[in-house]
């Protein structure tokens, strides 16, 4: 019954001005409720959201109640804005149009989703493993954490180790996977128990990304067979991994307890490095 009420347009003397007013009010209403309906998905990206997670929506400002002319200006400003990763725009569009048409990520092609996730992995990797002192947003990798990257790296390391093992391949994979996965969880718990401030999944993600140098080292060791070369390569990879993990771990705890938080990280990477050298 109420639907039929809202559907019926009350009878009014129809002149052009009231028609124009009615159209403008309809446009304003749609802008309030769902800007993604009217504007392309990149529009909310001009205001840099602090988080790309679709479940955290409080920081995204409500779309300004502007008239259509300024919204057109924003449309033109979008191509000029520095491109934040597309997933940011898409995921916040999920939030913005709560009752609008289905979100774009469900209807987009699979290749787009895969490309978007791969791009996020690459960007997180660049931020974590190749830390640039002049980067504009140091905390970005922490906020945009994801677990796909760590998953790929752990599985790749396990596969590389089990492939180069001559006996008990499945056991080697199991040990490597269990060591890395359980080790990441235990390291995070260690930081939390020491009174540090770290978010559980952020830390898992970071420790997984810091495995990338060891992955590269394992790949090279698979191809070469000289023991001395292996030791040198693994030492270099170990140093790189530890150097990548150091700033995140040390900033999470009290400075008096930095060594207590970092030593287990070193221990885990050392054991992985030993596995890489020993498996031939």
């Amino acid at each position: 019954m109420s639907n039929s009420h809202s559907d019926t347009i009350p009878l009014r003397p129809s002149n052009s001005q009231s028609d124009i007013d009615e159209i403008r009010s309809l446009i304003d209403d749609s802008v309030h409720s769902g800007p993604a309906v009217v504007l392309p998905a990149r529009h909310p990206a001009t205001t840099p959201p602090p988080s790309s997670s679709p479940f955290i929506s409080s920081n995204i400002p409500p779309p300004p109640p502007v008239s259509s002319s300024s919204s057109l200006q924003k449309l033109q400003a979008v191509p000029a804005a520095p491109p934040p990763p597309p997933p940011v725009g898409n995921s916040s569009s999920i939030v913005a149009n709560g009752f609008g048409p289905p979100p774009n990520t469900l209807t987009e092609p699979v290749l787009d989703t895969v490309k978007r996730d791969l791009w996020r992995i690459v960007s997180n990797l660049k931020l974590v493993v190749f830390p640039n002192p002049f980067r504009e947003d140091p905390g970005k990798a922490l906020r945009d954490w994801d677990l796909w990257g760590p998953f790929f790296f752990i599985v790749f390391l396990g596969v590389a180790l089990s492939w180069s093992a001559s006996v008990k391949k499945s056991q080697v994979f199991a040990v490597a996977f269990a060591l890395l996965a359980a080790g990441a969880v235990i390291l995070t718990l260690n930081v939390l128990l020491l009174g540090g401030h770290i978010i559980f999944f952020q830390s898992l993600s970071l420790l997984g990304y810091c495995l990338f140098p060891l992955d590269v080292g394992a790949l090279i060791c698979m191809l070469k067979d000289n023991v001395v070369a292996k030791v040198i390569i693994v030492c270099l990879a170990l140093a790189w991994s530890s150097w990548a993990a150091y700033p995140f771990m040390s900033s999470a705890v009290n400075p008096n307890r930095k060594a207590l938080a970092l030593y287990p990280v070193l221990l885990m990477y050392l054991s992985v490095g030993f596995l890489i050298i020993a498996i031939d």
Binding site: L189, L192, L193, G195, N256, R257, A259, L260, L267, D280
Partner: protein, 275 residues
């Protein structure tokens, strides 16, 4: 802060012995927020780096029986967890290294393959010992009426295992020593090596020492090493336990049992991991 318990008037020796420990132990349960809440366990990890290093160094002095005084106010489980983990890692790592060296020198071709099963044995052995033995002593001492604190026992036993780490490092290298080709094992190179250690001694004494060392079979040296570390660790445990219990003579048997258990662990390490 000390909460003094109200005088319950019974005045039996059992009760008054229990009461100060109870009043002190009433501090931690106030922070208990449930089994699955992290913040209820942070009280056991409330240590800084220098405190941990201080406790580690004091664990290398087996004759001073004052460890429980050091950890009285602030026992920590950090030492237990990470010392046992380090020991598991070192044992499996050096065990594989030892078998690798043996294979390489007997066969000439490396048919050695990394045996992951060592990790299982090392982990279950060390973790099982470090968790079960203090618990057993805790329950035993509680049953016999003495005061005992499980956290402090775990802390002490955990730090007592740190003495095994240098032993784990040195044991496989003795194998390497014994398997070196004979032309490297002449007196001259030994004298060169010994100069570092015994640099200030008389020349004849140096020759005598080097001949003495060459005569001793290497296996004997390894047994000596493991026995020394085992004795040091067991003395640490026994003396601290005795000073903690401060009880009558009937509890001496418990101290002796702790000593023997620690020695058994050290012999197990030698026999199983470095045969």
């Amino acid at each position: 802060m000390q909460i003094f318990p109200p005088n319950n008037g019974s005045g039996r020796g059992y009760q008054t012995l229990e009461a100060p420990a109870e009043s002190f132990e009433q501090q931690p349960p106030n922070n208990w927020k449930g089994v699955f809440n992290i913040s209820s366990y942070t009280q056991y990890f409330n240590v800084d780096t220098d405190v941990v290093i201080n406790r580690l160094i004091s664990s290398f002095h087996p004759t001073a029986g004052d460890f429980f005084n050091k950890i009285e106010a602030n026992p920590d489980l950090y030492g237990l967890i990470w010392i046992t983990t380090t020991l598991v890692f070192m044992l499996s790592c050096f065990e594989n290294f030892a078998t690798y060296l043996m294979q390489k020198h007997t066969d000439g071709t490396t048919t050695w393959s990394f045996d992951v099963g060592y990790v299982n044995v090392a982990a279950s052995g060390i973790y099982g010992y470090a968790i079960a033995v203090p618990m057993a002593f805790y329950f035993l001492l509680r049953y016999l009426g003495s005061n005992a604190s499980l956290i402090r026992f775990w802390c002490m036993w955990g730090y007592s295992l740190s003495i095994f780490m240098p032993a784990a490092v040195s044991l496989p290298f003795k194998i390497a020593y014994s398997l070196m080709p004979p032309r490297f094992c002449n007196c001259r190179s030994h004298l060169e090596n010994l100069k570092v250690v015994f640099g200030n001694l008389d020349f004849r004494i140096r020759i005598w020492i080097s001949k003495f060392l060459l005569l001793i079979p290497v296996e004997f040296l390894r047994w000596i090493i493991i026995l020394i570390t085992g004795t040091a660790s067991s003395c640490f445990v026994a003396l601290n336990l005795r000073s903690y219990i401060e009880g009558g003579n009937d509890l001496t048997i418990i101290v002796i049992a702790a000593f023997l258990l620690q020695m058994a662990l050290s012999i197990f390490i030698k026999v199983w991991f470095f045969p």
